[in-house]
Point group: C2
């Protein structure tokens, strides 16, 4: 089995391939091989084991009420599957999980995994980090979705990037990705930026922003 690949997984961060071998010799686990196209788990099914993709790629698919596929998220090795849904009140898969390529999964039953967490502090911290990171990412995203105007979102984004000292910022993502993150249309982002420039809040030149009126931007975040 590919312990090297596993040692790159967030769950096993800071643990060498050899150590992983030792750890796994002490906890019941299963390996499940899958072929491209296999349905690995179904939406609504309860999540009763930890699942780590050892090799290959799987994807999550939401299925709507008419049976049509809506959204897709890829999880390549060595990612973990549905780790935020192993615990909590609604511990069921939120999506169908389907193999994109052939590959292998590491499965550890929930009870065995709990024992592992209690035995190995590094894995415990790694797991806590994983689900906490997810929460933190989602919180951040909601913060932006909650601003009602695009200018508000942009102002928040720019001020946050600039921090207290800096007076210029350089976007490291495209307008397209930014628009996706905000949940708005791309030309609307461009327009909002343009307007903010005309209104004297900033000077925009491609991805580089010079902040002119920090106070004013702060006001915009209050929609």
């Amino acid at each position: 089995m590919d312990y090297i690949q596993l040692s790159r997984a967030p769950l096993f961060k800071g643990i060498s391939a050899e150590e992983i071998g030792i750890i796994l010799s002490d906890v019941p686990y299963r390996i499940r091989k899958f072929m491209a196209g296999t349905l690995i788990s179904q939406s609504g099914e309860s999540v009763n084991s930890l699942m780590v993709v050892i090799s290959g790629v799987v994807k999550g698919e939401m299925v709507d009420y008419a049976g049509r596929v809506i959204k897709i998220e890829d999880i390549p090795a060595p990612g973990a599957l549905a780790s935020a849904f192993m615990f909590g009140n609604r511990n069921r898969f939120p999506v169908n999980v389907i193999a994109v390529s052939e590959g292998e999964l590491l499965l550890i039953d929930k009870q065995d995994f709990l024992r592992l967490l209690m035995k190995n502090g590094v894995i415990l911290v790694n797991f806590l980090d994983m689900i906490s990171n997810r929460s933190q990412f989602l919180s951040e995203k909601i913060k932006f979705l909650n601003f009602k105007t695009i200018k508000g979102k942009l102002a928040q984004f720019i001020l946050q990037k600039a921090g207290k000292e800096l007076s210029s910022v350089s976007f490291d993502i495209t307008q397209n990705d930014l628009a996706d993150f905000f949940g708005v249309a791309r030309p609307s982002v461009a327009r909002a930026l343009g307007e903010m420039e005309h209104e004297g809040y900033l000077e925009a030149k491609g991805k580089n922003i010079r902040i002119i009126d920090k106070e004013g931007l702060a006001r915009l975040t209050r929609d």
Copy 2:
């Protein structure tokens, strides 16, 4: 100390007041009394201990770039503070935490808390449940924020509540709360519902909805 109150805390769910006493005799902890108005933690400060409100009420306040207070969230006893921010990459308070009334906090240092988690399986599961529930709640919220139209959000909400079998649904929250959850204005929710009725998707009578065209609703969730 008020172990009875603590036994109602999600972290100590399923553990009796006496057992809590025993557990706490074995792990270093501190009690911090606070008076109304005290600043308990500051936004940006790193979260290096577990904090449980034993008595009293605290609130979280976001502070904007001009120093003005924006949003508030109350955490009454026996809630935990910033539990989703103890771990993960950005383990800092996202808000200022301020005492609303006088009260007491239970503090356990992160390292000691980790030892406790490894020693006590019930607390471990409770904590995992707490942070997972948060993730799940946030995911759910984002799902709704991602629908571009209010009709889409409503359709999703109704179908989800109805499940596969039921053909009628009863809202258990007010339009106002629904509007907040969706991040839209209240009259817009009412209007969207009205339109969906005219368009023959459903029959709305106060909080009671009879689904007429399930297929059509499903189509709406595809915006």
